[in-house]
């Protein structure tokens, strides 16, 4: 074993990749070679310093905002149709509570729509994902969907959007519209979702209560 060989095997030794026999040869050389001991200590220290390179955390609330942004309804193009036709969007850890509100679109085999207005409890400044689930007996094209928000409640990441409207399609079965909502003051109010297909219109109203204890799984 020579000092030059140490340089060649150094990283493999650090990573534990040398064979037992090769490691023992290297260790014997190290025991009697002060410069190589210094080289090893320096390499180990450098690895430790690389490992100590910190990663600053993301901005406050980034993960929640990013998830809300990724899963928000997209009003135009192919994306919106896929969102509406897709499966459930649920809770992220304990910070987003999912409330399922099911309405039945016209043509469903057995109407279970209640005239009662479902309530969703929200906490101030906390993002809550509300899933509106629309059940359709058959696939429907050219459905116009609109959502109107009460004052003091915003779509997460889209503070300026008080109402949104877009054309989409419904698949046969459950169609889910996830809405990431944030209450910015304590007023709450009624969220109104409308589905129009030809001359027919279905209106769904959700009462948003701010500052009350959350409830899970409200189903009409």
């Amino acid at each position: 074993m020579t000092c030059n060989r140490i340089a060649t095997d150094l990283d493999a030794f650090l990573d534990g990749d040398l064979s037992r026999a090769a490691a023992e040869v290297l260790e014997r050389h190290l025991a009697g070679c002060a410069p190589c001991q210094a080289t090893l200590r320096r390499a180990q220290a450098l690895c430790a310093t690389v490992r100590a390179q910190s990663v600053p955390g993301p901005s406050e609330g980034f993960f929640e905002r990013a998830l809300a942004e990724a899963t928000k309804p997209r009003p135009r193009g192919r994306q919106s149709a896929r969102i509406v036709a897709a499966g459930f969007l649920g809770a992220f850890a304990a910070t987003i509570l999912t409330v399922i509100i099911t309405g039945l679109w016209v043509g469903a085999p057995r109407s279970r729509v209640s005239d009662a207005t479902p309530e969703v409890a929200m906490s101030l400044h906390e993002t809550k994902t509300v899933n509106l689930v629309f059940a359709a007996k058959n696939a429907l094209g050219d459905v116009v969907m609109s959502v109107e928000l009460p004052p003091g409640v915003e779509l997460a990441g889209h503070a300026a959007a008080r109402s949104v409207e877009w054309k989409t399609q419904l698949s046969a079965g459950n169609n889910v519209l996830p809405l990431a909502l944030v209450a910015v003051d304590g007023r709450g109010g009624k969220l109104v979702a409308r589905l129009k297909h030809g001359d027919e219109e279905k209106v769904f109203v959700v009462d948003l209560k701010v500052g009350q204890q959350n409830r899970q799984g409200v189903t009409l």
């Binding site: 990283d11 493999a12 990749d17 200590r41 320096r42 390499a43 180990q44 220290a45 450098l46 690895c47 430790a48 310093t49 690389v50 490992r51 100590a52 390179q53 990663v55 600053p56 993301p58 901005s59 980034f62 993960f63 990013a66 998830l67 942004e69 990724a70 899963t71 994306q79 896929r82 897709a86 499966g87 459930f88 969007l89 649920g90 809770a91 992220f92 850890a93 987003i96 999912t98 399922i100 099911t102 994902t129 689930v133 899970q216 799984g217 189903t219």
Partner: protein, 170 residues
């Protein structure tokens, strides 16, 4: 009350800290890491029906993120250079304010030296030595064979030692 299948957020949520760290290691700034991860989450959401059937979702999502980064590498590289320029102004490389750590290495000098490695060397060094991914995991993320990664890692460390010189300053 409706029994929900695992949602997108439930599936991907536990991996977000790891994905963010990877994004930061690749891009070098919080703003770019957030942009990259946000972008990737939108892509993943479009493919959410696939997620439940993926065994190592964290590694798989890491690969998606890394591919997205490579697709836009030029944009991020430009920003990294701008960031380096800004940092150089904020933290002049004088030994006076250096914070020595083990064996005389200063953590900021080492970071500056890492930033001057090639993108390939920086990637494997940070993923292996800083984030402590195994080489086979880096292979799954990058698609580069383990043998190539190992020799690249050794060259990266050698280059870093060379950049830091004999006295540990850069």
């Amino acid at each position: 009350v409706t029994e929900e299948p695992k949602s997108f957020a439930e599936l991907i949520g536990p991996h977000l800290p790891q994905l963010y760290r990877l994004a930061y290691r690749l891009t070098g700034t919080v703003a770019d890491a957030e942009d990259l991860l946000q972008d990737v989450l939108v892509k993943l959401y479009e493919r959410r029906s696939e997620l439940v059937s993926i065994d190592s979702l964290g590694i798989w999502a890491s690969r998606v993120l890394r591919n997205r980064f490579v697709d836009q590498a030029r944009r991020y590289a430009r920003r990294r250079m701008e960031s380096l320029t800004d940092r150089a102004e904020l933290e002049p490389a004088t030994a006076v304010d250096a914070t020595p750590v083990a064996a005389g290495f200063d953590i900021r000098r080492v970071r500056a030296a890492i930033d001057h490695l090639s993108a390939e060397h920086r990637e494997v060094l940070l993923l292996h030595d800083a984030e402590e991914y195994k080489l086979f995991e880096i292979q799954q993320i990058t698609g580069t064979p383990v043998g190539t990664l190992k020799s690249r890692l050794h060259r990266a460390r050698a280059r870093l030692r060379e950049l830091l010189g004999g006295d540990g300053t850069f």
